[in-house]
Amino acid sequence: MKRTLPLALAFIFGLIGIAVQIVPALKGFLNTMLDWMAIIGSFALALGVSSLTRHHMTKIRRKHKDMFFSYVTFVTMLFMMIIGLIGYFQPESLYQRLFGNMYNYVRVPLDASMFALLAFFITSAAYRAFRARTWLATVLLVAGVVVMMGRVAFGPFMIFNDITAWLMKVPTTAAMRGLTIGIGLGIVATSIKIVLGIERSYLGGGE
């Protein structure tokens, strides 16, 4: 039953998913399904908080060497939860402003800082990838240099702009289209395998 019910549900809803694409009258049902996804998703938030709490509680209980970070997680989570709830019931209060400020001036900059790290990571990854150790890496290096030159070309260097345009339009597009067709077929194959119950690994087991 533990395995049969999810498989039956996957089969039924998989067929419905195909049917809504073919029978226009079922489009309304698609919206209902999407609404249900949102409802189930909101219940999953409780699952998420429970998983997070259990993970960090275990770390603290076992006196893990990094349990300090678990305390930080708990303190910040409870702090935001409490001021958020009080602020919700007392609009225009100090708590609501505090919640907004914590979000806008602590969380958002931290988020932006993580994103900003990408610039450094791109540089280090590019350095490793562009080391001309093999002929393929050399091709990558040459193409990379040409594209970089093409992006800032001026005057007599405008030839790089034309080469860049060709590189992006012809070989890159050709490779990307091949990749996209393969990915599309892979998605369809995996979906059909799941709908037909051939692929069961995501349920935990093959049998």
């Binding site: 195909i18 694409q21 073919i22 029978v23 226009p24 009258a25 489009k27 309304g28 996804m37 189930i40 998703g41 999953a44 938030l45 409780a46 699952l47 998420g48 908080v49 998983s51 997070l52 259990r54 993970h55 275990t58 990094d66 970070f69 931290l110 988020d111 993580m114 994103f115 790290l117 990408l118 990571f121 791109i122 990854a125 590019a126 490793r128 990838a129 990749l179 996209t180 067709i181 393969g182 990915i183 077929l185 892979g186 998605i187 369809v188 194959a189 995996t190 979906s191 059909i192 395998k193 799941i194 037909l196 051939i198 692929e199 690994s201 995501y202 349920l203 935990g204 087991g205 093959g206």
Partner: protein, 379 residues
């Protein structure tokens, strides 16, 4: 004398004819049409102005849909064709559009009315090509699964990224350092996440067999519960349920960069020897891959996000490119059922390739038949 009079009248009529014809020429052509391939929830109003903007600066539409009050809408005459979708909500709703021309002196001139009742279709013929292709695919799957079940050998090329999994796990075991498995940052609605969870099972089984520390930080709460089930079953299949802990697969964070921060922090502290980055990734892909590289981990990555693939190829030791991610489950389990589907996928890809080449050759000769019939989208 009588004949002369008749001749004069005929000449006069002949000269007046163009004037009369000009007066009768429509100021605009318009038509209400049923939108094809829908359930009747929408109809289309096509409007082609015939008068110049100087003569008729704008047109006034009186739109009546079912029992709703009549709505007025002004269309500025730019001399261009206008397509107006009108939402009816369902089939069987009467729609009427009355058109008036607003003349240059401000007066209104009635141009007529167009009406219809919205009609729904049983089938969306735009999706038929995809549906037939799907049926062909299912037939191929059934055929090749049958062959595989009979014990026919199905050749599958080597995928370096998947071949390296055993070595990577062995390395982690020898070094006594943990294995990290990141199943992407998307939800269960993404097929790449499902593909990743399919790979998680054999990886978790191997990890349990080797008694290597294992960590599966997840971003989506639903994926957490599925990942916990997959890991638990894998540990049981490996005969090591004692090693299983619900904390192996856990929710690291639900925000994109919070998650990459949490996982990168864990990597820096726990120094994993092997990191799997398999599933759907967005901008955080390089943050995770580079952090794994900085702690000296072997990275096996795979995604179907074509925008993130270059980052993985540049930063990781092994990368499953696009469809290899979906083939991994069959490749690793070697189950006849899954191998059959993989073979069917390859055959379909071959057929599509053949179709593309045929279409190109036909196009070179100026024949559009193959392109129009099989490859051109209907929408």
């Amino acid at each position: 004398m009588k004949t002369k009079k008749i001749m004069i009248i005929l000449w006069a009529l002949l000269f007046c004819l163009p004037v009369a014809a000009e007066e009768r020429a429509p100021l605009a052509n318009f038509e209400l049409k049923d939108t094809p391939n829908n359930a009747g929830e929408q109809v289309e109003f096509l409007f082609v102005p015939a008068a110049s903007p100087e003569e008729v600066p704008e047109f006034l539409l009186h739109i009546a849909i079912g029992d709703e009050p009549v709505k007025e809408r002004r269309l500025v005459n730019a001399g261009k064709e206008i397509f107006l979708p009108l939402i009816t909500g369902e089939a069987g709703v009467p729609v009427e559009v009355r058109v008036e021309a607003v003349m240059d002196d401000g007066s209104l001139k009635n141009l007529g009315t167009s009406s219809l009742v919205s009609r729904g279709e049983w089938l969306n013929m735009n999706s038929m090509k995809a549906f037939i292709l799907g049926l062909l695919f299912i037939a191929l799957i059934i055929f090749y699964v049958g062959r595989a079940k009979k014990g026919k050998d199905l050749f599958i090329r080597k995928i370096p990224g998947l071949e390296a999994i055993d070595d990577a796990l062995g390395r982690a075991t020898e070094m006594g350092r943990p294995v990290f498995y990141v199943p992407g940052t998307s939800s269960m609605a993404d097929v790449a996440t499902l593909a990743s969870l399919n790979i998680l099972r054999p990886v978790a089984r191997q990890v349990a067999k080797y008694e290597t520390p294992f960590s599966v930080p997840v971003k989506d709460p639903i994926v957490v519960s599925v990942a916990q089930d997959v890991v638990k079953e894998a540990y049981m299949a490996a005969g090591r349920p004692d090693l299983y802990d619900d904390g192996i697969a856990y929710l690291a964070s639900m925000g994109q960069f919070d998650y990459s921060g949490a996982v990168s922090g864990s990597m820096m502290r726990e120094k994993p020897a092997t990191v799997f980055l398999l599933g759907m990734f967005y901008a955080e892909s390089l943050i995770l891959a580079e952090t794994a590289n900085s702690v000296g981990a072997i990275q096996i990555a795979g995604t179907d996000a074509s925008s993130q693939l270059p980052f993985f190829i540049a930063a990781c030791d092994y990368t499953l490119i696009g469809e290899e991610l979906y083939a991994a489950s069959a490749y690793m389990s070697r189950e006849p059922l899954l191998l059959g589907t993989l073979k069917a996928q390859d055959i379909l890809k071959g057929l599509l390739l053949l179709l593309f080449v045929t279409a190109i050759i036909f196009q070179l000769f100026g024949i559009d038949f193959v392109m129009d019939t099989f490859l051109k989208p209907e929408w």
